[in-house]
Amino acid sequence: MSRELEIVLNSIWPVLKAGLAVTIPLSLISFAIALVIAVITALVKLSNFKILKFIFSTYVWIFRGTPLLVQLFLVFYGLPKAGVTLDPWTAAIITFSLNTGAYASESIRASILSIPKGQWEAAESLGMTYWQVLRRVIAPQTVRISLPPVTNDFIDLVKGTSLAASITIAEMFMIGQQIVAFTYEPLAIYSLVAVIYLLFVSILTVIQGRLEKVASKYI
């Protein structure tokens, strides 16, 4: 067996373990919070509450307009200067949820806007309140329409968690770097890391396909 192959085989489990123990939970937790933030942000931006709209638009503007890596550094290394010291996981989850929330809010807002005006009118003409229209008519259609763009945002998040290495979190990429440091096999090891990301994202894509089928049964 060649030396490279042996190193790669020996590295699969350490890298995969970091994926299962760090990348996946970090992605899932951040995404769950991001979804809540995204729905609230989308609804506020579609509402008539001027001040709230301004606040949430500013939030989206900042988090879409600055690099994720800079955001991570600001929260983890910058905030302690302002008296707020966060452990790496907390800093990562806060940054990733806010960042993905900003993107996903735009995906959801665009999906809501793409629902024909006639759907609102038909529901309102039955005498539904705003919340009833949202819950019974708009939300179920939004889920279907926003599934592809929101999954995209999720995929970006999964890949983006590799940046957590820079704030001392031992996720897949950092484990890969450590292995490279003593094996001097960057090509083989970083390829391995890339393949495992690809595996995770492929699983997500398969799940997306299933969900789309369920959500589109009425089409």
């Binding site: 024909p116 006639g118 759907q119 009118e121 038909a122 529901a123 309102e124 003409s125 039955l126 005498g127 539904m128 309140t129 009833q132 019974r136 008519v137 179920p140 259609q141 279907r144 049964k217 009425y218 089409i219």
Partner: protein
């Protein structure tokens, strides 16, 4: 006859565009009124003002004992009550695509009127039978023809047991042979003395189904009277030329 919908000195503008001008009109219980008029004359807007999809700037609207004054801020409660008492059927059907035919029909009564679901399923099935679509109750709207979708929309409106049924060009999006099946349902409702207001371009339908015609032009009511008076009218040049132009199409 009991009046149940009444506008007094109602005005509606979009930005600077004065679309309905000092409208005074009453609609009677049990009657079918057809609103005619050239495109852009304000027919849809008048209809939409009845169930407050559009809100006029001035004037009053009475529906039975409900009364709103548009110069005051409209309360959410009045708005919902008026909407529950008037059901709208749209040109583009606007069925809820994620619900089955039966779910579409019972959605309003269950969510808005808090009716009992099993009871409403029975009523919903009866209404679908009435529009000839009971066999499609578990289909989704995307699986129906336009004419079938519009008949479901009519059943959905009837399920609310509204005091007034409003139709905005209900057959304009349909092929002629599909138009017939919808008009038949409308004609039957009219014969049952349902209170209906329709905007349509179908003069033949107006002739046979309407008790009364409202002719609108430029946001003003030029004619408000019995159907035979409208069609036999020999004085009003504008109406004569309108009828002629429609018949040459």
């Amino acid at each position: 006859m009991d009046i149940i919908v009444k506008f007094k000195e109602m005005n509606k503008s979009f930005q600077n565009h004065h679309v309905l001008k000092n409208i005074n009109v009453e609609f009677n219980k049990g009657e079918t009124t057809v609103i005619l008029g050239p495109s852009g004359s304000g027919k849809s807007t008048l209809l939409r003002c009845i169930n407050l999809l559009e809100i006029p700037q001035t004037g009053t609207l009475e529906i039975d004992s409900l009364k709103v004054d548009f110069t005051q801020k409209l309360s959410q409660k009045d708005k919902l009550l008026i909407r529950q008492n008037t059901a709208m059927v749209f040109q583009s059907f606007n069925l809820f695509p994620h619900m089955t035919v039966l779910e579409n029909v019972i959605e309003g009564p269950i969510t808005v009127l808090k009716k009992d679901k099993s009871k409403m399923i029975q009523i919903g099935e009866q209404l679908l039978e009435k529009v000839g679509l009971l066999h499609k109750k578990d289909s989704y709207p995307s699986q129906l023809s336009g004419g079938q979708q519009q008949r479901v929309a009519i059943a959905r409106a009837l399920a609310m047991e509204p005091k007034f049924l409003l139709f905005d060009e209900p057959t304009s999006a349909l092929d002629p042979e599909l138009e017939g099946e919808v008009l038949k349902v409308l004609k039957a409702l009219s014969e049952e003395q349902k209170s209906m207001i329709l905007v349509t371009h179908n003069l033949n339908f107006a002739r046979v189904a309407a008790d009364r015609i409202l002719f609108l032009e430029n946001g003003e009511i030029l004619f408000d009277g019995r159907t035979d008076e409208f069609f036999n009218n020999t004085e009003n040049e504008r109406i004569i030329s309108f009828i002629q132009s429609m018949q040459f199409i």
